[in-house]
């Protein structure tokens, strides 16, 4: 959306294809964003304004069946049987959340009070952080790295945003339920973003969030309907056992299914992490190996909103450059 708006304002004609019935992707399902806890709706409003331009025609509920290069221009076959001709393509297929039920040992879809980070965002939005039976949870655990840094699910990479999301959500839980005791179970705290470390410190200092270094092996439910977790508290060098009312799985980011389909049908290359492989990690992170096809955002790697918007703008610069070279 950012790239479409920027290109439109630079006098290019843009067709924006969206597979869902509305734009906004994952962000529209979220509540407050890190690092400043801005309401996600502000970002959605901003992006909607970007594409409100006479040069942008937005078509929703449409997927791409096929993308083919034909003597310098592209033919895009759409799911409604139509065909679009274009001189350049920006792929912005984003990411999918890791399907947490794949980590069966964590009990998502088995135990009622095991939820995902996305489910919790929806609870915040409704202002109802509740156990399945309607009770207010008193002890809440966050499990980092669900579907990330895990060869067993085929994802070796770090999703990068789940740590800070857990910190943000942990504080948000304390705002909703001041008396709650909150625990984050992590492998490493990866706070490598603007204001992330400050947020982490704030969560300890002002919200009393507890951090336990250890990767959960499995969850069980006991007769009292509590979730029993056992981890190695690696900093104490001892195994630790605890009962929780609610467990939040920090689901990682994966290449989107629609992105994978596009890669298959178009021949665009993907990397070992299954995301689209950029032409060059340093100088061509927006370029594909197919001339005229560019990437924007989390279809190339896990990215936060700031990075996605910057990446989209950089894609626009590459597109404009491409057209300029084509003319000369």
């Amino acid at each position: 959306m950012e790239a479409a708006g920027q290109l439109a304002r630079a006098d290019y004609i843009v067709t924006l294809l969206e597979k869902e019935s509305v734009t906004g992707g994952h962000v529209k399902d979220w509540y407050h964003l890190f690092p400043d806890r801005r309401d996600s709706r502000e970002v959605i409003n901003y992006l909607e304004q970007q594409v409100e331009h006479k040069n942008v025609s937005l078509r929703t509920g449409i997927t791409v069946e096929n993308l083919r290069k034909n003597s310098g221009s592209f033919l895009i076959k759409t799911s409604d049987g139509g065909e679009i001709k274009s001189d350049a393509v920006i792929v912005a297929t984003g990411f999918d959340m890791f399907r947490s039920e794949r980590k069966e040992e964590y009990g998502y879809g088995i135990y009622d009070n095991v939820i995902t980070s996305a489910d919790l965002e929806a609870m915040f939005r409704k202002n109802e952080v509740r156990r399945h039976n309607g009770d207010i949870p008193a002890t809440i655990g966050f499990i980092h790295c669900v579907g990330s840094r895990d060869e067993k699910v085929g994802n070796v990479y770090c999703s990068k945003l789940c740590c800070v999301t857990a910190v943000k959500q942990a504080m948000e839980v304390k705002k909703h339920i001041p008396g709650a005791r909150v625990f984050c179970f992590y492998m490493d705290m990866r706070m490598g973003g603007a204001m992330y470390e400050e947020l982490y410190k704030e969560s300890q200092e002002n919200y009393g969030i507890n951090y336990i270094r250890g990767k959960l092996s499995e969850v069980a439910e006991n007769i009292n309907n509590k979730l029993v977790v056992k981890v190695e508290d690696t900093l104490a060098g001892r195994p630790l056992r605890m009962e929780l009312d609610m467990l939040v799985l920090m689901a990682g980011m994966e290449m989107s299914r629609s992105g994978l389909n596009l890669a298959k049908s178009s021949g665009l290359q993907t990397g070992e992490n299954r995301f689209f492989a950029p032409a060059d990690h340093h100088f061509g992170s927006n370029k594909s190996k197919m001339e005229g096809v560019f990437y924007a955002g989390a279809c190339t790697a896990p990215m936060n909103i700031t990075e996605t918007i910057s990446h989209a703008r950089a894609a626009v610069a590459d597109v404009i450059d491409y057209f300029r070279n084509m003319k000369s």
Partner: protein, 106 residues
Amino acid sequence: MKGRQINYDTNDKSIAEYISEREPSFRICIECGCCSSTCTTGNFTRFSLRELQILLKRGENESVREVIGKCMLCGKCTLACPRGVNTRNVILLAREAFQKRIKNAV
């Protein structure tokens, strides 16, 4: 024999709470171990300030009480801490808490 497992729910976290209320910087430790590496006591005996802090937070108080007298209160740990935890005061408060709550302690 006592098992190795930390039973968080049944452990007594009152010592950690006592410290945390009076020295809030106790909460912001990130377990880097800088305090332990600079600690003279730790270099010559089995005494780790880093481990001691995590054990207090988990309510493993007995194992802390056994060793807390080893600290010489030199305060080097406080100078070294990258997060600004007043580790020296953490020790003092822990001793105070033990004295108040457990007879003949420290």
